[in-house]
Symmetry: C2
Subunit: 313 residues, 2 copies
DNA sequence: ACATCGGCGTAACATATGTAACATAGAGAC
DNA sequence: GTCTCTATGTTACATATGTTACGCCGATGT
């Protein structure tokens, strides 16, 4: 086709000279329609192409692919830090920027949060807002043993930075036994809380792994739990204290019958479910949650994103 | 600025994913306005850039620069052929495509043409049209001595390919003497013809050089003319049989007082004045015509274009 | 010679884009 | 504290863009 030359000329005038399609048509004695076609053809045939000159471009690509692959509404991929100790800070910054915009634009009436190092960093990095009518709810009970990062502290921090109402979940994460769990859960106050909890418009959690790096493992579990048996049952990590297998299903283990938090179906009822976690030890549980479609939004690091795209689906 | 990341993300969604700015704003929780700015900034800051993957791109650039530098309305730059013998064919093809579009779109009522190898090739390559009301006029007299390419043949070929009316210029190019010139020019028929000639809406000429390669030099000049004296007078080539110096002014030489064609001022009165010439031996005269602003449109080859841009202005 | 078909121009339209005018809120200066 | 100042959101509008429907014309095949 001779139009190669026309495509190049039209594209040059359009992209470099900044003329309008109508002006180009005038100058080249062609109709605007024709120019429009030529420009589209030039792009399609690769005569002109848009190239990205930023390392961030790859992250943007990963985000788009994550959205497509796992049906996400939102995805944020931050650069994987060379020093993995920075991971929480990186995740925090990325998640904070995302949440700031999300909250600013969508003004959810209520937000449910989990806990962990990532959430701690996130709330530190948030710009915040002034939303006195907004409710921040913990979606999990509190730690009974100490940690420098406590669930109560997290939810309070969120409420403070957003100047919003703060709703603690006045219960332990795990009941001492299955019977105690059923008893606690039957309390009207918890019934309502769990119903309300899963009524939030937005949830923001991280997932936990099953290694000693996990705060949940170190401080959240009842003292007598044998991690080995948890792993043997197929657990690859937890979401809201509930331990999941590689397919994202709760494993058959007493802990899952003692956990006091919205069950998976209730959780799925939350319209926007953001999960923010990064780093290699989170790979298995991230993959599980993605496969099970538990999140509508993901904040993670580039390496994890690549893993998800390579393995998952 | 932290917006680097936002720019990349927005640009990716726009250019690669093909989302609309409004959709991106929705997805990133930003206003459409902001996205618009981000995209513009990304382009400006070079975060994304449009690159051309065609050797023709450089020609398009040369065209744009020629237009700017010399105030042209139209410029066509064809690739310089490796074999310079192909130059006329290349020029012809480029000029033919240009003229086809020009005539098709603008329907000039009358076109004035010169002569030469380039015009010969041009008319051969034209698709043509069917414009019975269009008048093709020769802007120069005819050759008195033979050439395989004759002015009369050129104008007739144009008229034929356009199915238009054909108006020959029934005179020699040069009168035998200055007195004869004045006498001829005073004839009512020529007076009218010259007036009409410069009344054409479009002129299509090539320029001539002052070497033996020029058909004008070989066949057009009266026998006794000494090329050396022409050159000594400063001539670098001719336009419509009028020899010009490096600044585009007619040289002081008897030939210029014998030539029978519209004078420079009359020529300038033509709204669209296309000059088509390429190859190194045309450089000097091309530069002269460009400097003097004699053309509104130029068809040339890449090498010549580069020369004009490097030297001229 | 005639019918058919694809390419292109024309016109009209719905959408998308760029921009201006104004409002608002947060950051920094005094 | 109050101020301005800048950056951004809001709204509205003028342009530009992409797309559709339709008709002309020349090319092609029978």
């Amino acid at each position: 086709m001779d139009s190669q030359e026309l495509m190049v000329r039209a594209s040059w005038l359009y992209h470099v000279e900044g003329l309008t399609q109508a002006q180009i048509g005038e100058r080249m004695n062609l109709t605007r329609r024709r120019i429009n076609e030529l420009l589209a053809a030039a792009l399609e045939k690769g005569v002109v192409r848009v190239s990205f000159n930023s390392p961030l471009a790859e992250n943007a690509e990963l985000e788009a692919r994550l959205c497509r692959r796992f049906g996400l509404k939102d995805a944020v991929v931050a650069p994987t830090p060379a020093d993995l100790d920075q991971m929480h800070a990186v995740m925090g910054r990325a998640a904070a920027a995302f949440l700031d915009r999300f909250i600013q634009a969508r003004k959810p009436r209520s937000i449910g949060v989990g806990w962990g190092a990532t959430l701690h960093e996130t709330v530190l990095q948030m710009t915040g807002a002034n939303e006195p009518e907004m409710r921040i709810r913990s979606l999990m009970g509190g730690l009974t043993r100490g940690s420098e990062i406590n669930t109560f502290e997290i939810v309070r921090s969120f409420a403070k930075v957003l100047n919003a109402k703060c709703h603690y979940f006045a219960a332990p994460i795990y009941a001492g036994s299955e019977e105690a769990h059923d008893l606690i859960m039957s309390q009207p106050v918890f019934q309502e809380f769990l119903r309300e909890g899963s009524n939030v418009e937005l949830s923001f959690l991280s997932v936990g792994d099953v290694t000693g790096r996990s705060l949940q493992i170190r401080y959240g579990l009842p003292p007598q739990v044998d991690i080995g048996r948890l792993v043997a049952a197929g657990a690859v990590g937890d979401l809201l204290g509930r331990y999941l297998d590689a397919s994202g299903q709760p494993v058959d283990h007493p802990l899952n019958r003692q956990v006091i938090s919205p069950d998976i179906e209730a959780y799925r009822g939350i319209p926007d479910r953001i999960i923010a976690s990064g780093g290699p030890h989170k790979h298995a549980i991230l993959l599980a949650t993605m496969r099970a479609g538990l999140a509508t939004g993901l904040v993670t690091d580039a390496e994890s994103a690549r893993m998800l795209l390579k393995v998952g689906g």
